[in-house]
């Protein structure tokens, strides 16, 4: 066993309010620079929707990730032969217009315009050419626009849904959407690393963070194609690719990444997972139906003495092991069985897990029709004329009740396996019922225990899920392993070379030569 530690993430989609605070926190720290304006290392998408860059999930266009080739896997749009032959023109490279042209406004004109007949205006100008431009796209152009023909209906994940199911999803009354915040997944089998001809990308052994060495990147652009999540970006000004660095300078100082620290919905969790690197290749090349299960099987139980011994033998420090035991990510992914990876079919073994959304709450507000038909136990009179109906128990019995089609969620989070998603939702629901019983107490005990049984939860587990979901404080949500600087060659630099240098930034202005 070759046990390695991976700093991993869980995003609890039920809690995301789509405020984009995370994106702004990241932008202000890392990408508020020339050439990086269009990059959103953290972005938040509305689903169903096309995402950023437009239709990024459609690998028929972007050719990202790995594909199965007999017993093994090969890069879909990059690799040794394809990459070297396509150096001079990369046919699957997304271009600026697939993202958007960065712009600003001529604010100065508001103050400095000469007196005249009309109000001065702040025209939008391109941040690339400086010329006035019409804004046609932005980083979250499809925000909340689910249901519209231009966005929601272009979502590649709808391919599995029948026409009527799609229509049902978009009928305005049944309009349902959720937010999908995305950062680099710091994958275990990163396609970006494998695709780089220069060897500029690498995975850090100690914590699994995937980085691009800016001194080695030569703008061959293969990582941009290879990352199926489109989380490597090309800086058009410096001629270097860049990506989410998981705020490693913050992590090394024991702080949570900026997007997580600032998250308003507190949806984000960070912690260590232990995994067996020897099983990596087999898990990544598993048949499609087994992919998710095999990926979850890679993750080892830090409380198992055998695992701990193997981890020590593999050189995992004691403090990292301790962090792994307290990891909220391990709790969500393995102990609670709530979180799933996004698009495991890309075979990069992404290490960012999502708790699929149960929201919107299964409720409908309808006019009371006067008839006194039997109501569900949890349906409430809204007022004399209306009925607020939270028919939670029917979520799985009655497909029509599920606003977000299970098949759609399964496309995103379980390689099409609806049962896997249904199980997660059932568990979320069980916790809700459990809490309802605790706080309101209007459910009968048989119904609650049936729900818990169906979820495979005990009351203690439900309580633990509730605590970690709703009450966890900062240090429970982010369990950052110590960086062990004392034994590290600091950030891959020889310290003596950087002695006297402080802070981050460039030794030299990032200008074109």
């Amino acid at each position: 066993m070759d046990v390695r530690a991976q700093v991993s993430m869980v995003f609890h989609l039920d809690k995301c309010i789509g405020c984009h605070t995370c994106s702004i926190a990241c932008k202000n720290i890392w990408t508020d620079r020339k050439g990086a304006e269009y990059m959103w290392w953290n972005n938040v998408e509305t689903k169903p929707g096309t995402g950023f860059p437009r239709r990024w999930e459609d690998q028929a266009i972007y050719r990202g990730g790995w594909e199965k080739d007999g017993d093994t896997i090969v890069l879909k749009g990059a690799g040794k032969a394809k990459g070297l032959l396509n150096l001079f023109h990369n046919p699957a490279l997304p271009v600026l217009d697939d993202y958007y042209e960065p712009y600003t406004y001529q604010y100065l004109n508001l103050i400095e315009a000469p007196a005249g007949e009309d109000q001065p205006t702040a025209r939008p100008v391109s941040l690339i050419t400086g010329r006035p431009m019409d804004i046609k796209m932005g980083p979250n152009w499809d925000d909340d626009l689910s249901g519209t023909p231009d966005y929601a209906r272009q979502d590649p994940n709808l391919a599995d849904l029948s026409l009527s199911e799609r229509e049902a999803l978009f009928t305005i009354e049944r309009l349902a959407f959720f937010y999908l915040p995305r950062i680099c997944n710091h994958c275990l089998n990163p396609a970006c690393v494998a695709s780089c001809p220069s060897g500029a990308l690498y995975k850090r052994g100690e914590d699994g963070i995937v980085l691009i060495n800016q001194d080695v990147c030569r703008a061959w652009r293969m990582c941009v194609t290879a990352c199926p999540y489109k989380k490597t970006y090309f800086n058009w000004s410096t001629g270097k690719s860049e990506k989410c660095i998981l705020c490693y300078p913050r992590l090394e100082a024991g702080l949570a990444p900026a997007c997580m620290h600032s998250c308003v919905g507190r949806i984000r969790y960070l912690g260590v997972l232990l995994y067996d690197a020897e099983q990596l290749h087999a898990a990544a090349s598993a048949p499609e139906a087994e992919l998710v299960a095999r990926q979850l099987d890679l993750i080892l139980d830090p409380d198992d003495p055998a695992v701990a011994a193997a981890a020590r033998a593999s050189g995992v420090p004691e403090s990292t092991l301790e962090a792994a035991r307290r990891s909220p990510v391990y709790a969500f992914v393995k102990r609670f069985g709530l979180a799933l990876p996004l698009h495991a079919e890309f075979r990069t073994l992404p290490m960012l897990f999502y708790v699929p959304p149960l929201s919107p709450v299964m409720a409908s507000l309808r006019a009371g029709d006067g008839e006194d038909r039997p109501r569900h136990a949890v349906a409430k009179r809204w007022d004399e004329a209306g009925l607020y109906d939270t028919r939670m128990e029917e979520l799985f019995a009655d497909g029509a009740c599920s606003r977000l089609s299970l098949r759609y969620l399964a496309r995103l989070f379980a390689v099409g396996d609806e049962a896997a998603v249904a199980m997660r939702l059932r568990r979320l629901l069980a916790v809700r019922l459990y809490r309802r019983q605790q706080t309101v107490g209007d459910l009968d005990a048989a119904r609650l225990s049936a729900a818990l049984d169906a979820a495979g939860y005990t009351a203690e587990t439900a309580e633990a899920v509730y605590r970690l979901t709703a009450l966890a404080k900062f240090d429970e949500r982010f369990v950052v392993p110590p960086a062990h600087r004392e034994t590290a060659i600091e950030a891959l630099e020889a310290t003596d070379e950087r002695k006297g240098a402080a802070g981050f930034g460039f030794n030299r202005a990032p200008r074109r030569p």
Binding site: K80, G83, H89, I128, A194, V216, W220
Partner: protein
């Protein structure tokens, strides 16, 4: 006159070579950050496609052709000893020249006509693009007007270049060459000297080591790393050492 020839064909090549090696190494070691192909495909991809492929592959072929004639002049002369082979050789070489010329012209037009590309074009980009254009045009002119270039390159130029390399420069043959060819030779050394100061440097960092590398690269910053449980891990760690030593020098 002799002094001028000595200056242009003896002193200048040495200066260019020294500048190329020292300044190139210095840039690679100290500001590796600036060593990049500066691809502009992200801003404009469609028109780059035909022009870039034509230009790069043609230039690569021309470069290898010149290098071969420099390295193995006898083989080239033997190849050319039969008229059919000579003609085929010349036609192939000229086609690549034309390809490079057309490709570069396409690249220049593309750059000039797109405001986004003009925003990322530096004066040095224009200098090397125009110089290259002149250099390739001269080469095509020579191939057409002073045949058979492949033969006299092997017979006259290779010995001159070898004499430069051996430190005992002999420029008698070069002196006798037509002006166009002399300009082509000078152009080559000018371009060589500009490599460390322009984007041309990307031609000298071809990522061929990719072929020998395992796909995944895992780097440990702890000096000890984790004990290599798999040969793959051990290999990856060696990759780190190379990278670190490359950075340290």
């Amino acid at each position: 006159m002799n002094a001028l020839y000595d200056l242009l064909f003896i002193a200048f090549p040495y200066v260019a070579a020294v500048v190329f090696v020292l300044a190139g190494l210095a840039r690679w070691r100290t500001v590796g950050y600036t060593v990049s192909s500066m691809s502009s495909q992200f801003l404009e991809s469609d028109r780059l496609h035909p022009a870039s492929l034509l230009f790069h592959w043609s230039l690569l072929a021309l470069f290898l052709g010149h290098a071969f004639a420099f390295g193995f002049p006898d083989a080239v002369l033997a190849l050319n000893s039969q008229p059919v082979r000579l003609i085929v050789h010349e036609v192939v070489g000229f086609s690549f020249g034309l390809g490079a010329l057309l490709g570069l012209a396409g690249l220049l037009l593309r750059r000039a006509s797109d405001p986004r590309l003009r925003a990322v074009t530096t004066p040095m980009d224009l200098v090397v693009e125009l110089l290259l254009l002149v250099q390739i045009a001269l080469g095509c002119w020579i191939a057409l007007g002073y045949r058979w270039g492949s033969s006299w390159f092997a017979a006259d130029l290779s010995p001159y270049l070898w004499s430069l390399l051996s430190g005992e420069p002999r420029i008698e043959a070069v002196k006798e060459l037509p002006l166009v060819i002399q300009l082509h030779i000078l152009g080559a050394f000018v371009l060589l000297a500009l490599v460390p100061f322009s984007r041309l440097i990307h031609a000298f960092v071809p990522p061929l080591h990719y072929l020998a590398r395992p796909y995944q690269l895992v780097l440990w910053s702890r000096a000890s790393g984790s004990p290599a449980a798999t040969p793959q891990a051990a290999k990856a760690r060696n990759g780190l050492r190379r990278l670190q030593s490359a950075k340290k020098v």
